[in-house]
Amino acid sequence: MKSALHNGREWLAAQRWLLPVLLLAGFGLAFAIPEYNLLNKYVQLVVMYVGINIILAVSLNLVNGYMGEFSLAHAGFMAVGAYTAALLTMKVLPVVAYPALFPVAILAGGLVAALFGLIVAVPSFKTRGDYLALITLAFLMIVKSLIENIDYIGGPRGIPGIRRMTTLPWVFFWVVVTVWVVRNFVYSKYGRGVLSIREDEIASDLMSVNTRRVKFLAFTVSSFFAGIAGGLFAHLLQFISPRVFDIIKTTDILIMVYLGGIASIGGSILGAATYTVLLELLRPSTVAALLSWLPAIVFEPLNEHVIKHLGVWRMVIMPLALVLVMIFWPRGIMGLREFRWFIPKRDLEAHHRIAAREEKHGAPHGH
């Protein structure tokens, strides 16, 4: 039974041609679903949130998983991207006449967020661990209070009335770009540099890795995609305010990363999807709808005393979930493992090819 499952998995892992096919099918569906209303509007919305959260989790995993730091700044980068993109579409770019300018705004959001990422990377040269975590937390708070104090961008009231321009195909497109770029990064010398910094920074430096450059890159790529996600988020929710991008938002992304597993793109995808759906299931209206089959005599008191208050309890349940995952399931769903479809063929072969030719002369055999 177990071995049949194992064989099945091995077989599936070998069918790499399926990945591009699934991608094409995914794009097709992303266009078809809203066009023909194949899913109801609410489910479509949840799917788009799943996509945005995948972008956030995969990009945060670069710093918190692969590099082994504990950054709390991700919601801050997301805010920068969201505000940049929203201001561009509302005040600068004529997106009503030219909707094709929407991706330009999203891209700009990512680039500005990446600039902020460069700033946060600087303290990481000298500082690690708890101290760097505190610095990233400070960054998050600075971004939030800056936004609150600039009246031009709405201050604490935020920006209402953003055009809804984020569509399923756009979300799908950016998810694919994020996964592809992060995957390319991870399997390059820079990605291996990031991993070696997590393992032993001094040894990494002594093996010729330019650790500063590698940290710069990791923070830049990570914050770039957080900014992209922010832009997509703003044009989906149609309203942003400083409160949307607070520590709770960062906590959400952290849970997705650690639930999915560190140093794993596949893990972050699964973590983001699982967590987003769970969160939706905890909404009072969803729970009420799911349990409405119960007899009224049970349902009414349940609804009155428990279900209606779930919104408050969310803030208790979710951080608690983060603590529990980190203690009892430190590896998450697939920590330090990866979907084999994501691993370059070159890497797979190099690790598993059995010595085809024994070198004619090797070192003297010791031990």
Binding site: K189, G193, S208, V209, N210, E358, E359, G362
Partner: protein, 256 residues
């Protein structure tokens, strides 16, 4: 021509000098040993050469390039490889990746080429894999390429650390107590091994050691440190009977 020279190097932690008035002239192709009791300043010397510490005073030059003030990765990229006294592999990474990481400075492509998989990226990655596997094959580690480094037995971890240091493509190799934790039999094999890699990779080797047997057996020249000071220098025969060396190792006559 001297490959590595150190002139009046001094390094102090607060008021305590771990190394003082240190001078060195290492010729290309030479195999030199640095010995001394615990705390004599041997590892400090390696950390000064490789830029982990910045010398308080003095100059260290490699092929005429000043090393003091450079960062470790800049110095390593000049082709100086090193191993560590207490093995410092990337424990959770594969054997292959340990060796691949050391190719960082040689891999000739930009971040953009890596992120978009264009230009020199593929060719360079392929070259790194080939070279890493060649090194692993030479050290009889090829079949373990996919294994996590921490799962290797101690002896193989030491071997992998040397393979990783050689992936730098070094002209100068710094070995920090390679015989630590080995029995006399294993030390015999290690001596043979060190002489073999020197020949095979055209190396100049600077070796720190505790084990007299190893240093006496293979080094052409030795330097003895004690409390940061150089107390003797010369070929093994001279060092063996040098009164100051005997004093440092065995203590000074009967306690008076």
């Amino acid at each position: 021509m001297a490959l590595l020279t150190a002139t009046n190097v001094r390094h102090c932690f607060g008021g305590l000098c771990a190394l003082a008035d240190f001078n060195l002239n290492l010729e290309t192709g030479e195999l030199m040993g640095v010995i001394g009791p615990n705390g004599a300043g041997k590892t400090t010397l390696f950390n000064l050469i490789t830029g982990v510490y910045r010398a308080s005073e003095g100059s260290i030059q490699f092929k005429g390039t000043e090393l003091v003030g450079k960062t470790p990765h800049q110095i390593t990229a000049l082709r100086i490889g090193r191993t560590f006294q207490n093995i410092r592999l990337f424990r959770d990474l594969s054997v292959l990746d340990n060796v691949r990481i050391a190719h960082y400075a040689q891999a000739d492509y930009s971040p953009l080429e890596a992120l978009l998989q264009i230009g020199r990226y593929r060719r360079e990655e392929q070259r790194i894999i080939e070279n890493s596997r060649r090194l692993l094959a030479i050290f009889h580690l090829e079949a373990l390429a996919g294994e996590t480094a921490k799962n290797l037995p101690y002896g193989l971890q030491r071997r992998l650390e040397i393979a990783r240091a050689l992936a730098i493509g070094p002209e100068l190799l710094l070995l920090d107590e390679p015989a630590a934790g080995m029995n006399p039999n294993e030390i015999d094999l290690l001596m043979e091994f060190i002489l073999w890699i020197r020949k095979e990779f055209n190396l100049t080797i600077l070796l720190i050691e505790h084990q007299m047997k190893l240093v006496m057996g293979i080094c052409e020249r030795m330097k003895v440190l004690d409390f940061g000071e150089t107390i003797a220098e010369g070929p093994p025969e001279v060092i063996q009977n040098h009164p100051k060396v005997l004093e440092a190792y065995l203590g000074e006559g009967p306690v008076g």
